[in-house]
């Protein structure tokens, strides 16, 4: 972190997720390219300078209900600034919303403010999660879970009505036993 550490934690920092995935990706790239490139072997001290989130204007938004619409996202997220682009996360197979989206603002400051003021508050009566993101790329709008949605919805053990009930893998496994009753778990 640059500068003096604040006496109170900041809410506009990227989560550990991105930092971790950065390392993973680096390793992944290295494997793929068989070590013949130099980006993979980048020195750790260079990382700060080309931090891809330094000027990030995009946010990943998670824990949405499958039923939350673009319009609702617009309504809430516009409170932090004009939205440049909104990409809803879709089930890879059904092409229906699967509970996440990318919100892109015009400025980095708006994205940071969104982290501070909207992340962790409710949209459609669910606490949503925001994370700074280096930017949307084609393909990322699709869930990467086995059955098309997000991976977290495969093995979820709790019943979440807004996100298709029980985790799909678990639901499948339990199907046939007498857990299911008029489509709802008790």
């Amino acid at each position: 972190m640059r500068g003096v550490r604040a006496t109170v934690d900041r809410l506009d920092r990227p989560s550990a997720y991105f930092n971790n995935s950065k390392h993973k990706r680096r390793r992944f790239e290295k494997d793929q390219r068989d070590g013949d490139d130099d980006t993979a072997g980048m020195h750790p001290e260079n990382r700060e300078d080309d931090d891809p989130l330094k000027n990030a204007t995009t946010l990943y938004v998670g824990n949405l209900s499958f039923f939350t619409t673009e319009e609702q996202v617009y309504e809430l997220f516009s409170k932090c600034g004009e939205i440049k682009r909104l990409v809803m996360g879709l089930d890879r197979f059904t092409k229906t919303p699967c509970g996440f989206c990318f919100v892109e603002y015009y400025t980095h400051q708006d994205a940071l403010d969104c982290m501070k003021y909207i992340g962790g508050t409710k949209l459609d009566e669910r606490i949503i999660r925001t994370d700074l993101d280096p930017g949307f790329e084609e393909g990322r709008q699709y869930g990467r879970g086995k059955s098309g949605g997000q991976v977290r919805d495969e093995y979820r053990e709790d019943y979440d009505e807004g996100r298709g009930g029980l985790g799909r893998a678990i639901a499948k496994e339990r199907d046939g036993r007498d857990f299911v009753d008029d489509g709802r778990l008790r």
């Binding site: 003096v4 900041r10 506009d12 550990a16 995935s21 673009e70 309504e75 809430l76 501070k116 990467r144």
Partner: protein
């Protein structure tokens, strides 16, 4: 690329590392255990600087510890390790200075630690004063007035351990600057800000010393107060513009709000006559009789000289524009006083500290909310009633005891920001989020306070400045969306029958629409009592509005359907051209405006094709943007028809319409002037003025104005930076456009306000008065916006000049200081071997690394 869902499995760093990693997943439990075990063991061994950091940051938070115990404990831990831990000294001083600007409620307690430490290691106070003096100088030059105030507050709290005049010298010189500024211009706001800082520092100074010391300072304080009176009592010309309430002419007592600074002046004068009791301020440096030893040490502790603080001859406004401020409270006019009355200095002191806290801690709303809820920890004991005392119980409290409800005081402070004109420091949604968190942290205590605030605001909505009434609605609906949309709607049931022109009915209708926008119609309908249900028609529950050309009775129905079909299969332009030609020639036959007719059909079709979601309509607009742009450029009437079609198609869901208009403005398919003309003349005319009561029409106009003024501001700021290339022509053209826009707004609204609009005469229900009043309220909002933008343009130039002056002045100071320092070093070399110098320099460098070493490495 990045893999959002792979988080659960693999790829984890080593267990226990990375202390800021979020731990939410079950598979982290093992790590967690490990981590906690380590942590608690390590706390024992944690080096003193780590322990001190932790304790200092948390100072005064725990109500179960005696304040003076806590203070001596930290001070002793610090001074005991003075020799062994070199990192500690610099770190400690830096941390104190950081805390007093980041968590300003804690300043008096930090001062307490310093005063106790002073009895053992007086050097620490010298170190701190030196650094504080330099910081104050920096902040003065930058115009960071809040930081200036917060550092002065700390230094003021240390007045008791200072030689001679101490801080009074600085305050006096600051006052001279203010006088200079005020004499130069009656519109000056910097001078007023400086006086405010002086007046807010003074109480902390007066509370800092022993009774004997206070006796000595009383004359100085009296002199200062006598001087500030003229500036503080002079009403600022801009005050009328930022007035939050506008009583209706019929109302009995059209009292104007009082300016914050004149109140403050009056409160201090009262306090002076009462011998500066300052009963709300904490004095953690006063030890009980049982601790004679510390008390006597404190009394005989060494005194220090405040280093020179150079106050620049020219001062700048700084990064935030300065405006006069007025006192508001949502808890006025109650049978029992639940917040300090405006006559009491406590009202200013507590609110000032809370507002600083709120605005400084914007980066962690949870911390803000917590400090607000714990406000009673940071003031003198018994300043407040017990936390969570219900309002109804306040009247049972016997007289000398306080009836001030900490929750009310905290909530009131947030509302002053939410309702600050022209703008609060941060985005409005920040203040929403603080109230949400406070409500989550202590629902039983905060929710009833909010409820009373809402009722007060609702009652007063008709008198409120329209911009504030809109903010209230926006907050209210957003807040409810975080708490299951529950509100006691039954108590307003009688107002449902009011005319749409009544401000309270407008509030109800607007709030419900905003709730639906954040949720969906059926859900909101379920939260409302029966009488409100009629406000949500069945058309609200449809996902997609009806396509008017599906009905054969609509003119051009066949053509409409044809174009929609062509758009759907992305047919080539020529095919669409042919249909449009047909519409136009038919329109001419029917004696209609051909362009308007074809534009209406085409735009409605684009909307229909894109009706599934915003991205659908945006894609549809993107594909047809050339044709839309041509339609917009063809004639004023045709351009107006574009927005007319959008607003008509989405009339049931205005939120969607507004998003589309925003994008059409970005594409320059619509111009701001078209939007304003449509709203204030076309639509307001069609409804005989009733549209002025619709929240979404206000939102549309306001957003458009903000877009235009925002662009002008951006260009002006860019143009003032040397390395940015902005040609003056673009900038001047934008400014000209902005002024034209304001003129158009003023013309339309002026006519509504005066009742000279033609459509007004057609009102037969005797409601012209209400329409006129809406016109007046609108007009005030946009005249203020205009005044602010014009002031910004003037100030931008002046501020640049002032900054240049300050820079030049400071160069001279720096040269002088460098010369003095060199001379001193020369002297030192001659007199003694240079041993001391190196050590402190190294300490500074090492500190950088030390600061990062924390409880977990």
């Amino acid at each position: 690329m990045a893999d959002y869902d792979r988080r659960g499995g693999g790829g984890r760093g080593g267990g226990g590392g990375g202390y800021n990693r979020k731990r939410r997943y079950r598979d982290d439990n093992d790590d967690d255990h490990h981590y906690r075990g380590n942590n608690s063991r390590r706390r024992y061994d944690a080096p003193p600087h780590v322990r001190i950091r932790k304790q200092l940051i948390a100072i005064a938070e725990n109500p179960m510890i005696e304040r003076h115990d806590e203070i001596s404990q930290i001070a002793n831990l610090f001074t005991d390790n003075w020799e062994d831990d070199v990192l500690l000294r610099g770190n400690f001083v830096d941390l104190v200075l950081q805390l007093c600007v980041e968590q300003p409620l804690k300043t008096p307690f930090l001062a307490g630690v310093l005063m106790v430490a002073n009895t053992n290691k007086p050097e620490v106070v010298d170190m701190l004063l030196e650094k504080a003096a330099r910081l104050i100088e920096d902040k003065l030059r930058e115009g960071e007035w809040r930081d200036v105030k917060l550092y002065l507050k700390l230094v003021g709290c240390l007045q008791g351990v200072m030689e001679g005049d101490g801080i009074f010298g600085v305050l006096t010189e600051l006052f001279e600057r203010a006088v200079g500024l005020q004499t130069a211009s009656s519109e000056d706001t910097i001078g007023t800000e400086i006086v405010k800082i002086i007046l807010l520092t003074l109480p902390y100074v007066m509370a800092a010393g022993s009774p004997e010391q206070q006796q000595q300072w009383q004359q100085k304080a009296a002199d200062l107060l006598e001087n500030t009176a003229i500036i503080a009592s002079e009403p600022h010309p801009l005050q009328a513009v930022i007035e939050p309430y506008h009583p209706e002419p019929s109302e009995e007592n059209p009292t104007q709000s009082q300016s914050l600074i004149s109140l403050l002046q009056a409160q201090l004068q009262i306090e002076a006559t009462q011998g500066w009791a300052l009963s709300c301020l904490p004095r953690p440096w006063q030890f009980p009789v049982s601790e004679v030893e510390v008390a006597s040490k404190l009394a005989s502790a060494p005194k220090h000289t405040l280093p020179t603080i150079i106050i620049p001859k020219t001062v700048v406004t700084g990064p935030r524009p300065l405006f006069p401020e007025v006192y508001i409270s949502v808890y006025g006019q109650q049978e029992v006083e639940s917040v300090p009355p405006p006559t009491s200095l406590a009202s200013s002191l507590i609110r000032d500290a809370l507002l600083d806290t709120i605005n400084v801690l914007h980066f962690n709303r949870n911390a803000t909310a917590r400090q607000l809820i714990e406000v009673d920890c940071y003031f003198a004991p018994r300043t407040f009633a017990l936390r969570g005392t219900p309002f109804d119980r306040l009247r049972d409290i016997e007289k000398p005891k306080s009836t001030w409800k900490p929750e009310d005081v905290a909530v009131d402070a947030v509302f002053t920001q939410l309702f600050l004109l022209p703008n609060p420091e941060h985005k409005l949604v920040y203040y929403h989020s603080v109230l949400t968190e406070a409500c989550k942290l202590a629902p039983a205590a905060i929710a009833p306070s909010l409820g009373r605030a809402i009722r007060y605001l609702y009652r007063n909505a008709p008198r409120m400045d329209l911009e504030l009434a809109y903010r209230f609605m926006d907050w209210f609906s957003h807040h409810l969306s975080n708490f299951g949309f529950t509100w006691k709607w039954t108590e307003w049931v009688d107002d449902v029958e009011l005319s749409g022109l009544h401000p309270r009915k407008a509030f109800i209708v607007g709030s419900i629409d905003k709730e639906i926008r954040l949720s969906f119609a059926q859900r909101i309908k379920n939260t409302l009592p029966e009488p409100y249900q009629q406000l949500i028609g069945p058309e609200k529950e449809k996902d997609v509005p009806d396509f008017k050309f599906a009905n054969d009775d609509t003119p051009f129905a066949a053509e409409g359907r044809e174009i929609a079909a062509l758009l759907k299969r992305k047919a080539p332009d020529e095919e669409i051209d042919a249909v449009i030609q047909r519409i136009q020639s038919q329109a001419i036959d029917r004696d209609l405006d051909a362009l308007v007719a074809s534009t209406d059909v085409f735009v409605t079709c684009v909307l229909y094709v894109g009706s599934k979601s915003l991205s659908h309509v945006l894609a549809a607009i993107e594909r047809t943007k050339d044709r839309l742009a041509d339609a917009g450029a063809a004639s004023d009437a045709s351009r107006t028809q574009i927005i007319e079609a959008v607003m008509a198609y989405w009339s049931v869901h205005p939120g969607v319409a507004l998003s589309i208009v925003e994008k059409l403005l970005n594409y320059s398919i619509l111009t701001p002037l078209t939007v304003i003309n449509w709203a204030l003349n076309v639509q307001a005319g069609k409804t005989h003025g009733e549209a002025l009561a619709f929240a979404h029409i206000y939102e549309l106009v306001f957003n458009t104005v903000i877009k235009v003024t925002g662009r002008v501001r951006q260009l002006v700021i860019k143009a003032s930076q040397p390395d940015e290339m902005v040609d003056d022509e673009t900038k001047d053209a934008e400014i000209k456009n902005m002024r034209e826009l304001f003129r158009a707004i003023e013309d339309s609204l002026g006519a509504w306000a005066q009742g000279t609009k033609d459509e007004m005469l057609e009102r037969e229900d005797g409601s012209e008065g209400l329409v006129k009043r809406w016109g007046t309220r609108w007009l005030r909002v946009f005249k203020r916006r205009q005044a602010i933008e014009e002031a910004f343009l003037v100030e931008a130039v002046r501020e640049r000049e002032r900054k240049e002056e300050v820079r030049k002045e400071w160069e001279v100071v720096e040269q002088q200081r460098a010369a003095e320092k060199a001379a001193k070093e020369e002297e030192a070399k001659k007199n003694a071997p240079a041993a001391e110098n190196g050590a402190s320099g190294e300490g500074e460098k090492e500190k950088e690394n030390g600061a990062e070493v924390d409880i977990v490495e």
